[in-house]
């Protein structure tokens, strides 16, 4: 998710040189292209647990996949008119620049450089991640500040490695990075006690813990040493398409805030007197006009894909293998102390 692979940058630069100001596709809006094609090309990554993974019968599922499904539901009224494009992080931005993908919904950190230099626009954030540390309970450590002199397993050539060094220097902790090329090797080294701690994005730490023969002996430390806001990305200069993707995510967040879920939506649609609910579900007003979608677009998203909280619990929540509890975390609703906040539907 944060590999600063030279290849990616190189390819990104080349692509941006060739294409930044006005992609060839600009004459026709992305929405028209998608509607004419009848299928949404949604880019996800190579499988990452929780966010997008492949089942043994070849189906994609995951937290980021739900964004694709939401967009498809908003446009077609069918959440499965999607061609999933799974590419490695090295080519993710070129696949957007050359028009191969309509939208990128994969753990991609929103940074100023990427937003301004690659001919792309970040729409919004659907998951706030951040780098942290995980240790074995035997170490008796409860804060990253106690990790002075510790050996830390980390993937090489990533911003993770950079953040680790920065953090260690800022706090004069003198941590010893033990670098790995392959995440599986890193994980088995950590499990067998080859390093005191392992560092990665916290969602990544959760999936490392889920692999461990005994999960209960590992603890993710509370410190978050970097900001990794993840969210869907579109090509620059197509604000209608940008809006569709952004508001598809907002619809899910807002639905949770209004207490609408896939199971009670029909009831609420029929009986609610709340004007915002009525506007959002297309009972009143014409909010859909500006997006170029049907009035039921948000209804379809919530009915077919679910609200934000439902999806979180299904793929990330405490009952899943990822086991990243939501209450009180940054990914909770703003009304409960988190950062998930949708602009009003009016």
């Amino acid at each position: 998710m944060k590999k600063v692979s030279l290849l990616a940058l190189g390819a990104g630069f080349l692509a941006s040189l060739a294409f930044t100001p006005e992609p060839v596709l600009a004459q026709e809006s992305t929405l028209e292209i998608v509607k004419n094609r009848g299928i949404l090309r949604c880019q996800v990554g190579t499988p990452a647990p929780g966010f997008y993974s492949l089942s043994d019968d070849g189906k994609w599922s995951g937290f980021d996949v739900e964004n694709c499904r939401a967009i498809s539901a908003a446009i077609f009224g069918d959440p499965d008119k999607i061609e999933y494009q799974s590419v490695t992080s090295a080519v993710r931005f070129t696949a957007m620049a050359n028009g191969e993908s309509d939208v990128l919904s994969r753990t991609t950190t929103w940074t100023l450089f990427r937003d301004t230099q690659l001919g792309l626009d970040f729409t919004t954030v659907n998951f706030y991640d951040g780098q942290g540390f995980m240790v074995s309970n035997d170490l008796g450590v409860s804060s990253a500040m106690e990790l002075a002199g510790a050996t830390v397993c980390v993937l090489t050539g990533t911003t993770t490695e950079l953040n680790l060094t920065d953090y260690s220097r800022t706090n004069s902790l003198d941590m010893q990075p033990v670098v790995f090329e392959d995440s599986n090797v890193r994980d088995s080294t950590f499990f067998s006690g080859g390093c005191d701690a392992v560092t990665n994005d916290k969602s990544g730490l959760a999936s490392i813990r889920a692999k461990a023969p005994d999960q209960s002996i590992f603890t993710i430390l509370p410190e978050t040493i970097s900001k990794e806001p993840l969210g869907p990305v579109v090509r620059q200069n197509d604000s209608q398409w940008n809006d569709i993707v952004m508001w598809s995510v907002f619809a899910m967040v807002n639905a949770e805030e209004l207490g609408i879920s896939s199971s009670n939506i029909d009831e609420i649609k029929a009986s609610s007197t709340n004007p915002e609910v009525k506007r959002m579900l297309g009972v009143e007003g014409d909010l859909n006009k500006g997006l170029g979608l049907e009035p039921e677009w948000a209804y379809n998203i919530i009915k077919m894909v679910g609200n934000y909280g439902e999806n979180y619990e299904e793929y990330m929540g405490a009952k899943t293998v990822m086991n990243i509890p939501r209450p009180g975390s940054v990914n909770d609703l703003w009304t409960r102390g988190g950062l998930m906040y949708s602009p009003p539907f009016r």
Binding site: A18, T46, P47, P49, E83, S86, V91, D187, A210, V321
Partner: protein, 449 residues
């Protein structure tokens, strides 16, 4: 009496003593090969110990502690704490690793395609069959189209329809040919000619009979293929071993003909051709395959018109073919240089033109010399195709990796790798064995060693 006297006085050697007990039999062999001296003995003991450790680990990991049935990796971990294999996962992911995301109910098409190709190539190994080169060429040149029609399905374009019909006709002809050879002892061509009463006529007329028969078969195939109603399966969901074989198969099949042409071009006296071929070979040989693949799938679409938008797989196959051809060209050129100048001169003295000289005199010798190198390139290419996983084609390797990222199978990564390694070993070892067989049967004069 005299006899007895004679035999008493004549020299009679004593029977030879048996060789010392420690130089014959198992003990002797051991002494000679394994315990010849202190160094040998130490090496033997150490090696045996290493072998013991490996075998012991393999048995413990792969059999004793292995779990054969489970629904998630966690179930395996709960039983063996990760100290044994979780073969149950291979069972769950087997179809994915074989066919990628190709839908279960359509996988028979892939199997059928594989069976057709095998059947097509069987006559190659049957004795008595004539025209093996033509059989091989027909398979290599036309099977890909039949395969594409079968695997892709949907509405095929005119070109694919025609080419697939040609392929089907040739496939039928090959097996009719096998049947007539074994039943009547005559080739299909002879039988057709005599059955239509052209046997007595001028030889030059015979080809019209064959063309006519081909035409009839072609029309029948065209109609038959038109009646196919297969669900379209886009190449984006092809995967697994199937995809690996599609890419490496086409790469391998095209490498030799393209390589030969490039090698001849590079040795040509015509400057334009020579410069072009040399530049082509040097350019693509000096660049890593992964770079070519990146260029093909990410950069090419930037230069092509949007409407064209060829599927990624097609770009990848083109890239692999180019790369393989460039390498093969140098291998073939090595073979050409090994052929004595006298052979060229003799061929020219016979009055053969360039193509005949190459086809009849030079190439057979050059290729024969180069069998180990050619097969080596093929094996390298087959293994290189796993690089397509980097650009997001779900070949057997990436599919195996994807398995370990499924929430239910987190941590399941060693077993898919072992499974993939096994397939590559089987395929490459088979190629290697076949090349040794070829060297023995056609490499005669030069011997191997």
């Amino acid at each position: 009496m005299t006899d007895a006297t004679q035999s008493d006085t004549a020299f009679r050697p004593k029977p030879s003593l048996p060789p010392p007990a420690n130089t014959v039999g198992a003990v002797g062999w051991l002494r000679k090969n394994l315990f010849g001296g202190p160094v040998d003995t130490i090496l033997t003991v150490v090696s045996l110990y290493l072998v013991y450790l490996i075998v012991q680990f393999a048995i413990e990991y792969g059999i004793i502690n292995a779990i054969w049935s489970a629904d998630t990796y966690r179930e395996c971990l709960d039983i063996n704490r990760g100290e044994g294999a979780c073969w149950a996962g291979i069972g769950v992911w087997f179809n994915s690793m074989m066919y990628g995301r190709y839908p279960d109910e359509e996988q028979w098409r892939v199997n059928l395609g594989g069976i057709i190709l095998l059947l097509w190539l069987i006559p190659f190994w049957l004795p008595k069959i004539t025209g093996k080169i033509q059989i091989g060429m027909s398979a290599v040149l036309t099977f890909p189209f039949l395969g594409a029609a079968l695997f892709l399905g949907g509405e095929f374009g005119i070109f694919l329809h025609v080419m697939a019909s040609v392929a089907l006709t040739l496939f039928a002809a090959v097996w009719l040919h096998v049947a007539t050879t074994y039943v009547f002892g005559r080739s299909l061509a002879e039988l057709l000619v005599s059955a239509t009463g052209f046997a007595g006529k001028d030889d030059r007329l015979h080809k019209y009979v064959l063309l006519g028969a081909f035409g009839v078969g072609f029309v029948l195939s065209l109609v038959y293929l038109g009646s196919w109603d297969l669900v379209e399966i886009p190449t984006t969901i092809w995967g697994g071993l199937f995809l690996t074989l599609v890419i490496s198969g086409i790469g391998i099949a095209s490498a030799l003909p393209n390589g030969i042409l490039l090698a001849l071009g590079r040795r040509s006296k015509m400057p334009v051709i020579r410069v072009f071929c040399t530049a082509f070979i040097e350019l693509f040989r000096s660049v890593p395959l992964i770079t070519i693949l990146f260029m093909a799938v990410t950069m090419m679409p930037l230069f092509l018109p949007v409407e064209l938008n060829p599927p990624k797989l097609a770009m990848v196959i083109v890239a692999v073919c180019i790369f393989a051809a460039a390498y093969m060209a140098e291998t073939v050129r090595g073979g050409l240089q090994a052929v004595n100048k006298g052979q060229y001169e003799a061929a020219q003295a016979m009055g053969l033109n360039f193509w005949k000289m190459m086809a009849l005199i030079v190439m057979p010798q050059a290729l024969k010399l180069m069998i180990p190198n050619i097969v080596g390139s093929f094996m390298g290419l087959m293994k290189d195709t796993t690089l397509v996983s980097i650009i997001g084609l779900y070949d057997i390797l990436l599919m195996g990796k994807a398995a370990g990222q499924n929430p239910n199978w987190l941590g399941f990564h060693t077993e898919p790798l072992l499974f993939t390694a096994m397939f590559f070993f089987v395929l490459c070892f088979a190629m290697s064995k076949y090349s040794q067989h070829l060297e023995r049967t056609i490499g005669g004069g030069y011997g191997r060693r």
